[in-house]
Amino acid sequence: MIVLQNVTKLYSKDRSALRDVTLSIAREEFVFITGPNGAGKSTLLKLLTLQERPSEGVIVVDGLDTGLVANGAVPAYRRKIGIVFQDTRLFPNRTVFENVSLPLRISGASGRKVRERTNAVLETAGLHDFASRRADELSGGELRRVAIARAIIGSPHILLADEPTDSLSPQASREIMDLLLQISRSGVTTLVATHDRDAVDLLRRRVVRLEDGRVTADVSSGEFDAVLEPA
């Protein structure tokens, strides 16, 4: 479960990225965070991954007040969350297997566990045939899949995805959203920051709309048309 209570993030005195945001996301829920560029979507995800700290307010993730997470404990905190970055943040000169298995290497998993778990996740992400390919040989859609596979390899309870369909073809976007939905259905709380209306239309899940750092709408499926940007 994720709770944000009166969260404000100021980058300077005159520049706020989030203003007094209060939000509650239930366990295993799938939520889209939408809004125009600069609305605060990425900042919200950065606060949840502790890349940034809130200027005001409280953020609770899985029962843990993130304000109490000391800098030294941030790596362990991040290992419990799956993150898909907008620009994938993969190692271009490493293989898909190496990229996906990295979080397991970081946590000191045995070679056997790394092989078994990585192969299973690659299968889930439809990347089994790509294991030995270098990341810089892959297409945009394949790279997103690799990024998602890396995000879920540590079996996180929470998955955060920042613009996972950005610059992808409609077909590739649909495949990525299907994959995220499939992961969500396995019991993972999923937050997807996007301005891809087609993707939101397709999945018809809860939508939180941010504008100018504020929550301007928070609606569940069935009534989300009102909060979307014009197509």
Binding site: Q51, Y77, L90, I106
Partner: protein
């Protein structure tokens, strides 16, 4: 279980260091070459400075002080004086030359004037102490001390102008050498450190990604520190090989060409220089990497 995980992590970090060196081969080769060239220049300069230092010492050792002993000086006190001078740390050798030995020396070295001694029928030469210094700095103070003992010492002869000049040259050379070593050492450190910083800078995104997916500072830093140490070791190793081969090839020729120069070509000196270079290479490589990575860890 935690220990096993830690061991696996250490194994991974070591593997990652070598893997990364291979993946970034051009940067690795550039860093090794830079470190190697800088350390060759630095160790060659150390060797030149050492030769200069030894040359000054050798010149200093050739400078003697002669103290002429009073004819009526009690032998026991002269013996005590010889012992006192010999026990000084800056004195290499004291030779007592008796009056007869002085006359004999005169006859030997100036044989065409030897008959003068036969004409005057007495021995005009006083006994003397010939003092050879190990440190020329102590020469003038010793002369002053001996002049304060007129009962024993009749006259003290020191080529004050030569000694003074030698001391000035020696001090200047040592000061200049010291400044140059520090400057060149600083330049070497600066260049190597910046080479490593550039190598780390080109991979700053890698560091950021590792941090974002939950790597601890040591997991991120470990491969870089090992890589820096290995690159430093290889760079310094190549420099050591160049220095050893250089000494083996050029040393004997130099020795025969300028035999008056105390050029160090013994295995001990070259080995020490090579070991020192290796130590410097590994130290700068690892410490440089440690600090270069630190600035990118705050993600």
């Amino acid at each position: 279980m935690a220990t096993m995980a830690r061991l696996r992590t250490i194994r991974y970090i070591i593997g990652a260091a070598f893997g990364s060196m291979w993946r970034n081969l051009i940067t690795t080769i550039a860093a090794i070459t830079t470190i190697s060239i800088m350390l060759i220049v630095f160790s060659t300069f150390l060797a030149v400075n050492d030769t200069l230092d030894r040359m000054i010492d050798a010149l200093g050792r050739r400078t003697n002080l002669v103290a002429y002993i009073q004819d009526d000086a009690p032998p026991s006190q002269v013996t005590a004086l010889v012992q006192a001078i010999s026990s000084r740390p800056d004195v290499a050798e004291v030779v007592f030359v008796s009056r007869d030995q002085a006359a004999a020396k005169f006859r030997n070295t100036l044989s065409e004037l030897a008959e003068i001694l036969d004409i005057i029928e007495t021995n005009p030469f006083p006994a003397s102490l010939e003092v050879r210094m190990s440190d020329p700095e102590g020469l003038l103070p010793l002369a002053d001390e001996l002049r304060l003992q007129p009962v024993l010492v009749e006259q003290v002869l020191v080529r004050a102008d030569v000694v003074g000049r030698l001391l000035r040259v020696s001090r200047l050379a040592r000061l200049g050498g010291g400044i140059l070593i520090i400057s060149l050492g600083a330049v070497t450190l600066f260049v190597i450190f910046n080479t490593i910083r550039l190598a780390v800078f080109s991979r700053r995104e890698e560091i950021e990604i590792m941090k974002l997916i939950g790597a601890t500072d040591w997991f991120v830093r470990g491969p870089f520190v090992i890589e820096g140490a290995v690159i430093g070791f290889i760079g310094a190793g190549l420099s050591s090989i160049a220095v050893i081969v250089g000494f083996a090839r050029v040393g004997p020729t130099l020795e025969s060409l300028v035999s008056f120069l105390p050029i160090q070509t013994q295995a001990g000196f070259v080995t020490n220089l090579a070991l020192f270079t290796l130590f410097v290479g590994v130290l700068i490589g690892s410490v440089g990497s440690y600090f270069s990575v630190r600035r990118y860890l705050e993600t």
